[in-house]
Symmetry: C2
Subunit: 452 residues, 2 copies
């Protein structure tokens, strides 16, 4: 019954039933997503996809964010390109219990389709659809976590197709039965192998899952059928993509526990498991300065980390910015040497600079199962015997130490300034902050991009 229960819950939910904590979390999620999508819009991965697929673009209904001045495409291609852009810096949000990046697949599909409809979509309707999509995605993700991820699936996109279908289906006002079919059409498109991490295809997963879900909702709205037991059947999604699941329990918690509220935002554009080390190294950078110690005299740096850190980000010698996202050693090095780890510190020229490589190669790390995923410890030894130690109990960006609205704004403006300039970015920020009250998402996008 999980598929039909999810469909029924999603189609009947009203904005007035949403707790304000959820709508605020959703607004923050969209705000963070938009900054990432604009910030990643001119990355070479995004540009490669845009140029390769431009000959296939259909009617220009939907904005391809920031790639070129006000470029448009059909909703499906806009969803793909915006989805790629939003994930390409690994700077997007994280549902920590599943390490799903929930907003990418859902918002990429939703924004594109909201622009393409022949009516205006208001802010509340948009937020409602965003929330049902994120809830669907995270609940099915929780149902198969962690076995599904262990097998080798990129859980963001494998669940993202389903979330995007539910969100777009909500926007298109599907019946409960159509919604169940949309869930099935999305579920059958299982996109995302972890083997692709470190290549252009990792962010393709996010864009493709947005397309998968969008197409599923569009097909279902025209009567296309799938299975009404797509998620729970013997050979349905959960059983095929995982060796165990608790789908019924997760679906039963819909509307009781809001996954949207558990969404967290990254202060650093790389895998979240590296964040405790970066946080610690940035703190150490400040202490080094205060003590007049230079990393040039560093003998060794040893880190103790959660086991997943080495499994996911154990790359010793990353060759470029993409690979560096999977290197706890690069993250630690830029933290220690530069005192920050923003998109600029993941550019190829920084990853290959001698100063960073020298420090990076002095860093060692061991897995420690007693540590939490947002916890780390690092010990520095210097020539002459000086030693510094830092323990991070909860990294910045964790649920315990969330990014503040001001920090989110700084992150947004930093990224968007690359495309719209400093003033444009600040203007865009204030426009997006008004999301809840806007009458038309189409107008919102035009105002963000600086239309009259």
């Amino acid at each position: 019954m999980a598929t039909q229960q999810l469909a029924s819950w999603a189609t009947s939910l009203k904005y007035s039933s949403l707790p304000e904590t959820a709508t605020t979390a959703a607004s923050r999620s969209f705000y963070n997503w938009l900054g990432c999508a604009l910030g990643g819009s001119r990355h070479k991965t995004t540009t490669r996809a845009f140029q390769a697929l431009r000959p296939f673009f259909g009617p220009a209904t939907s904005t391809v964010l920031g790639h070129e001045s006000k470029a448009k495409a059909d909703a499906s291609h806009a969803a793909l390109i915006n989805g790629i852009a939003s994930h390409v810096h690994d700077y997007d949000d994280t549902h920590l219990e599943t390490i799903i990046h929930p907003t990418g697949p859902v918002a990429s599909a939703l924004l594109a389709q909201a622009e393409a409809l022949d009516r205006d979509v208001g802010g509340e309707e948009f937020i409602l659809a965003l929330i049902v999509g994120i809830e669907a995605e995270c609940k099915v993700g929780l149902a198969v976590w962690p076995k599904h991820y262990d097998i080798g699936w990129h859980i963001t996109s494998t669940t993202g197709s389903i979330g995007a279908a539910v969100a777009v289906g909500k926007l298109m006002d599907l019946t409960s039965e159509q919604m169940a079919h949309a869930i099935g059409i999305a579920a059958t498109q299982v996109t995302g192998l972890r083997e692709m991490f470190g290549s252009d295809t990792k962010s393709f997963h996010v864009g493709r899952s947005a397309q998968n879900g969008l197409m599923a909702a569009v097909l279902a709205s025209n009567g296309y059928t799938s299975s009404l037991q797509a998620l729970e059947a013997k050979r349905g999604w959960a059983n095929v993509v995982s060796v165990s699941n608790d789908l019924d329990a997760q679906i039963a918690s819909l509307g009781k526990v809001w996954e949207t509220e558990k969404n967290s935002f990254k202060p650093f554009p790389c895998g979240i498991v590296v964040h405790p080390i970066i946080d610690g190294c940035i703190q150490l950078h400040r202490e080094l300065k205060a003590k007049d110690l230079s990393t040039a005299r560093l003998k060794s740096a040893h880190a103790r980390v959660h086991p997943l850190v080495l499994e996911l980000t154990g790359k010793k010698t990353p060759k470029d910015g993409l690979q560096a996202k999977f290197s706890v050693y690069h993250g630690g090095a830029v933290g220690l040497v530069l005192g920050k780890a923003g998109p600029a510190e993941y550019e190829d020229r920084v990853v290959t600079s001698e100063e960073i490589i020298t420090v990076r190669d002095k860093i060692t790390a061991t897995a420690d199962e007693t540590l939490g995923a947002d916890e780390a410890e690092i010990v520095l030894e210097f020539e002459g015997g000086a030693e510094l130690k830092k323990h991070v109990s909860h990294a910045v960006g964790s649920l315990e130490v969330p990014m503040t609205d001001t920090q989110l704004q700084e992150k947004f403006v930093d990224q968007v300034a690359l495309v719209l300039g400093g003033n444009g970015a600040k203007q865009a920020s204030s426009v997006v902050e008004s999301l809840k009250g806007v009458a038309s998402i189409r107008d919102l996008v035009a105002r963000i991009l600086g239309s009259p």
Copy 2:
């Protein structure tokens, strides 16, 4: 090394190295595919997808076969719709060792892209690309068969994305490294759950895998990267989608054993496992006539079948044509009552007719592990004590009893006449038979559809 070996083999293969048995088998495969795609083009499943997605169509480079008079779309949408049409009657080809329907994903992508290129693609080049695609698809399918299918994956589409990528990549003259990336981008889009069998989404799998592969090749041609170990890595395709595989052995057999030559064609538009029963029942229909026995006096019909028959096609009371494809009971009933089992015998009105239902409900079947997959036995009992028995050692359409060229032609004309009329169908048939020698696939398609 499997991914790079496959890429290297596919990019370096020349038409002159192909045995004529392979090029002839490929030509027959394309011929059969085209008939199925035209024959399925006006099925409601195809029409639903066409109408739902038409607002997304890009520049009209590629033919949407038969759906409307000379409709065109961008190559990706043409690949999707033609792929759906070619599979919707379950009448397409079968690689018996894997029950992959190989031509659907590959030819749907290839034809659409061949029309979209800004140069003419000749018949030999087209056949070469078709063969490398089918070989890629069937070799990776063999590598994970049968565990992959047992888990619940629709092996036609999960391997079809890879086959389509290799075929289109060959047509686009990718380098070996680009081809490896294309394989990876295709492999990460694992489309097709068996749970969808019996719904519109089963044939969507075939169309979507064609799109997946086409997009993978197009992205890779523009420098988009994936993994050079996409198939064989610890968390690569084969390990994630199956619990065991012999990828290395299968890849090593490329160019030594031609899977294309093992392709078989269906005389009946339904799951191939039902064919022995249908074949036997059609033979029994003729014997009943000769003996002046009527199915109106049938007391019972009991079949012994391969175990997969009941697992895949055990539907006792199908409600429409789609469900009937998964009912050995319906297949047996139309064979006995009508003496044939073409597309007309799978129309809804036949499935719900009282005459068919009455006979259908008298049929029982038991699984017998001693029988081959193309073998069956059926025993009829009549009021008054008459008994008839039929043993089918190898069903028509099996490798032992392949369809002849004449039978293939009849099948083609039967299907294509629905769209182009009887004369148009015969004209189309003679045009497609000239495939090997044509200078331009674009012209071939125009001539098939009756352009001047």
